[in-house]
Amino acid sequence: MEKKLVYFSVVVLMISLMTVSVTSAGYLDRFITGRVSAGVNVSVGITGIHPISDVAIDAIDAQTPTENGITYVPATVRVTDSDGGYDVESVSIVFTKSGEATRSDSSCDFVSAGGDTAVFLCNVSMWYYDLNADDWSALATATDKGNGSYINSTPVEFIYGLLKAMTISPSSISWGTLDAGDTDQSAIDDPTVITNTGNYNDTVGLTGLNLLGANSIDIFPATDFAVGVSDPACGGDQVNVSPINVTDSISSRGLGATEEFYYCVPTVPNIPTQEYSTANAGGSWIVSY
């Protein structure tokens, strides 16, 4: 019974020692002076001397570009500091991809702190024309409040998707009046201006459609038209009802990046006199990425 009492006493003593706050004072502390009055609130900012020990970025979801706009990419950063989560001064993040402009958030938002970890939320603006790739790299940097040192995270890769998007203007083209046998007749209201509002970067295609006469019988074949990226386009590519890649066309990436299509009827066919249009055929020509 006595033995048990001794064990119990030792355990209680150890628990007490572990829960008691430990304080200490150095030699220079004797210069700390002051007069304390009852009822006065005193707040003291305490910063730690230990550097940040770890910076980690949560996995970043695959991102979808926004047509002609910005996609805000969220990234959660967790910073570990043995002096406590509040000892983190700031967090920044950069997204990089070889050959592309760097995207960044220089001041991520503090979200919370618990124990030795602080959580920050970064929001990085990515543009619609930023390259689609599965290896955009995110790197966060956290700065310590106490000693001013900083530490980088391990890079995290994420996917920035492909966006094929465009605007075209005008939405139709015409030739006015044509006579059979006329040659090299250019459209009167071209070019079709194709503005790249995504990040696709390759040739531009065109799919034709035979024009149908008002009598719904006679056709003006799509193959009697030519298309090119410069005016006149009479020596350009022959339009077809199946898709063609227009020679020398390119959908550049960037703000206001455009391509232009010009059209020509190299030789007006000998077909009955009437109005011909794609509308009569119930469709349209398709400019495609």
């Binding site: 706009g69 094929k164 075209i168 203007s169 005008p170 139709s172 077909i271 006199t273």
Partner: protein, 176 residues
């Protein structure tokens, strides 16, 4: 007009009535070509990936026709026509991909999905529309040896502890 002379009269005035901008866009998490990002799947796996239709430019709603041009043996669509409101970017086109269970590791199937804006079909001699094709490879890869789910690990530990307790209890009983 003289007989024998072909005059093709065009709808010039109608041009004035039609919109001047046609806009459309589709986004895909997978693509081929430069810096290709194929869809990797296991044999026998079925997944649905969303292609994202956008209409952020212009003030008109756009209707798209959607069709699978290649890879129909493993890919299928839920519907063939999608209406996309102006200034939206959240219209999803679910694309179901199903890899046969007898596929071989390394098998690659090209999937091409074609989108075409459906125009009103009025105005102008040649109405212009827009189209995009999404093209990517589906590659059959080996299924990684997955770790046991945490619930199974916990269940295993619990069973082990109970077994140890039962054995030790049995021994004590025998001693008595």
């Amino acid at each position: 007009m003289k007989r024998g002379e072909l005059v093709v009269v065009m709808f010039v005035l109608a041009i004035m009535l039609v919109g001047i901008v046609s806009a459309s866009g589709v986004s895909s998490p997978y693509w081929d070509g430069k810096e290709a990002n194929p869809l990797k799947m296991y044999k026998g796996e079925i997944t649905t990936t969303n292609l994202n239709l956008q209409n952020m430019v212009g003030d008109d709603d756009v209707t798209y026709s959607v069709a699978i041009k290649e890879g129909a043996s493993i890919a299928s669509l839920v519907q063939g026509v999608y209406a996309v409101k102006a200034h939206t970017s959240d219209t999803m086109v679910p694309l179901r991909i199903s890899v046969p269970s007898d596929a071989e590791i390394g098998d690659t199937t090209k999937v091409i999905v074609e989108f075409k804006s459906i125009t009103s079909g009025t105005g102008g001699m040649v109405t212009m529309g827009t189209g995009m094709s999404v093209s990517f490879d589906v590659v059959v890869v080996e299924k990684p040896k997955g770790n046991l789910p945490i619930t199974w690990i916990v269940a295993g530990i619990v069973v082990l502890v109970v077994l140890i307790w039962l054995i030790s209890a049995g021994r004590k009983k025998r001693k008595k």
